[in-house]
């Protein structure tokens, strides 16, 4: 019933209450969106880096971020290196594993955009990605198999997402641009990463059909884990010319750092929004207390104590803020897709995974933060109401 009274008081000035709620909602939405994005982006970048499987890539000289981005998300357009480098790097004692890759892009079927053909050496590639396997629940009775690791058999496997999007099935021979027909021998189990959307093809086959003999986009490396390996590797690389070494985890960290560096700014914006919302709430409730001085005086004459009036006004503030917090959080929850789209259009490198990650924690923080705002913001007007002398309050109303 006290809450009903609270509710009625808030409804007396619906426009004013709505504006106040909107202010709190905006602040809460800003804060929640910010942190959801922060978390989502970091996680997505980390996932992409881990998904790549390579600690270190050897490529032609170029922007390391561009190289990392293309390698992580698919696409082509990078310069080539000579495939004899594969043997050179494999021969280095500090190199534990090496695997070649050759990225090519072709037009997908019926305007579906670009399709990345990732040329790999299956055996060594799978050492980097031990979790890679063929799907076991493909519709139809065929189980599928890995392509023969040879340049002469025109066979490929598809990522799970690509298979679903195109409807291509095992055994089908697909025709891409002017390439020879490629037979699908298997479909990968979903990985949640880049491999879901690409075609895996033997690197030698790719060299042949794209007419890039002796060419590679890069080599993925894993060094031995002893301490001297890095130093030895750096020494060997310094002696080689015409290549670029990309430390993928360092690239990932740099990207996350960039996002981090905006965090302080965004946090400041969210705080200012919160402060403005808080002042708005204090102002609104204060006004409503001043307007109701005679009424509050009558409440005192009915036996309401200072504490009772304090509770009444305080609960009005808290309810206003709680509603605002819920609305704002709900708004972000529903509008998450739109935010995601906007963010993707704004950042140079957007990981494939969901960028705006809603953690229950942050949704809770949005609402709890708004309620905390009400707790603090309500103190002043509530104190004002409690401090009214019943006599003054009633006299003023006469």
């Amino acid at each position: 019933m006290l809450l009903r009274l609270t509710w009625l008081n808030l409804r007396r000035r619906p426009a004013r209450t709505l504006l106040t709620v909107a202010g709190v909602a905006t602040a809460a939405a800003a804060a929640v969106a910010l942190f959801a994005f922060q978390r989502g982006y970091q996680r997505a970048v980390a996932h992409d880096v881990a998904d790549l499987g390579f600690e270190i890539m050897v490529t032609a000289p170029g922007c390391p971020y561009e190289i990392a981005t293309v390698a992580m998300t698919g696409g082509a357009g990078l310069k080539y290196i000579d495939d004899s480098l594969l043997d050179d790097f494999s021969a280095l004692p500090e190199v534990d594993q090496a695997t070649p890759f050759l990225l090519q892009a072709v037009r997908g079927p019926a305007d579906s955009g670009w399709l990345t053909l990732v040329g790999i050496e299956l055996d060594s590639y799978r050492l980097f990605k031990p979790s890679l396997r063929l799907s076991e629940d493909i519709p139809g009775d065929e189980r599928g198999r890995w392509p023969e690791p040879t340049a002469s058999r025109e066979e490929v496997v598809l990522g799970a997402g690509l298979a679903e999007a195109t409807g291509w099935r095992i055994g089908e021979v697909i025709q891409l641009e002017s390439l020879p027909g490629l037979k699908i021998t298997g479909i990968l189990a979903p990985t949640g990463g880049r491999d879901d959307g690409v075609v895996l093809i033997d690197w030698r086959l790719s060299q042949r059909i794209f007419e890039r003999p002796g060419r590679l986009t890069g080599i993925g490396l894993r060094l031995r884990s002893d301490e001297s390996a890095v130093a030895a590797f750096e020494e060997h690389v310094a002696a080689m010319g015409g290549i670029q070494i990309v430390d993928t985890s360092a690239v990932g960290e740099r990207v996350v750092d960039l996002v981090h560096s905006t965090e302080a700014l965004l946090l400041a914006i969210a705080s200012v929004a919160g402060l403005i919302a808080a002042l708005g709430v204090v102002n609104t409730i204060w006004l409503s207390v001043v307007e109701r001085i005679p009424e509050l005086g009558v409440f005192r004459s009915l036996g309401a104590s200072r504490g009772d009036l304090f509770a009444l006004i305080w609960s009005e503030t808290i309810v206003t803020c709680a509603v605002g917090g819920c609305v704002g959080t709900l708004f972000v929850l529903l509008g998450g897709g739109a935010i995601e789209g906007w963010v993707r259009s704004q950042v140079p490198y957007a990981p494939r995974e969901t960028l705006v990650l809603f953690e229950a924690e942050w949704l809770g923080v949005g609402i709890a933060g708004a309620i905390a705002l009400g707790f603090v913001g309500g103190l002043l007007p509530a104190w004002r109401a409690a401090a009214l002398r019943p006599l003054d309050a009633i006299r003023r109303g006469e």
Binding site: M1, L2, R4, L5, L8, R11, R12, P294, E295, V298, F299, R300, S301, L302, G303, A304, S305, R306, D308, L309, L312, P390, L391, I394, G397, E398
Partner: protein, 225 residues
Amino acid sequence: MAVAIETVGLEKRYRQGTRTVEALRGIDLKIEEGEFVALLGSSGAGKTTLLQIIGLLDRPTGGTLALLGQDVTHLDRASATRLRGTTVGFVFQEFCLVPELTALENVALPATLRAQVAPADPHAWLKRVGLGDRLHHTPRQLSGGQMQRVALARALVGSPRLLLADEPTGHLDSETAHEIFELLADLNARDGLTILAATHDAELAARAGRQVRLEAGQLREGTRP
């Protein structure tokens, strides 16, 4: 019968800058339990001031006040609030109802505001003041007389022993005013409620069992028009 209200040499001085207004100058008033007393006096005589001091909404600057045998002159604020809630009922010239609440909710307001108070029976009190068929009307849908009845029910819902009414009919036409005073007389006669009601109107005051007149802060007992 016990004494409901007793003031001895009650004084109230208002200080306004360098000037002091002596609103009450030594009031000796004794009202027995079960009395219905009309407080007459022209404007500015000190009626409101006296009622507010007796109702513990204000403090005297001199003299003593006892309610139901208890000296309450120097009561602390919390006890005054408690006593106001349990012993005294107030009605005002303005009915001071919450416009958004129904009659029933307005009467339930004291209990709503004070979680510690046992739930009274607002329903019964609205019936008692003759509004049993207007429970769910809001003040906007009620006449002035009906609003004052709601205010009366709200003042009485906590079962106070004492009702203080400050010109309860000031905003009502004379016919309705008579009805309200009749209701007060009835509450006094049947429920044994002690009533002190301020009014300008000598004719209304005649309904009360006894009249006292305030003139410039001093009491003239029992004067009749």
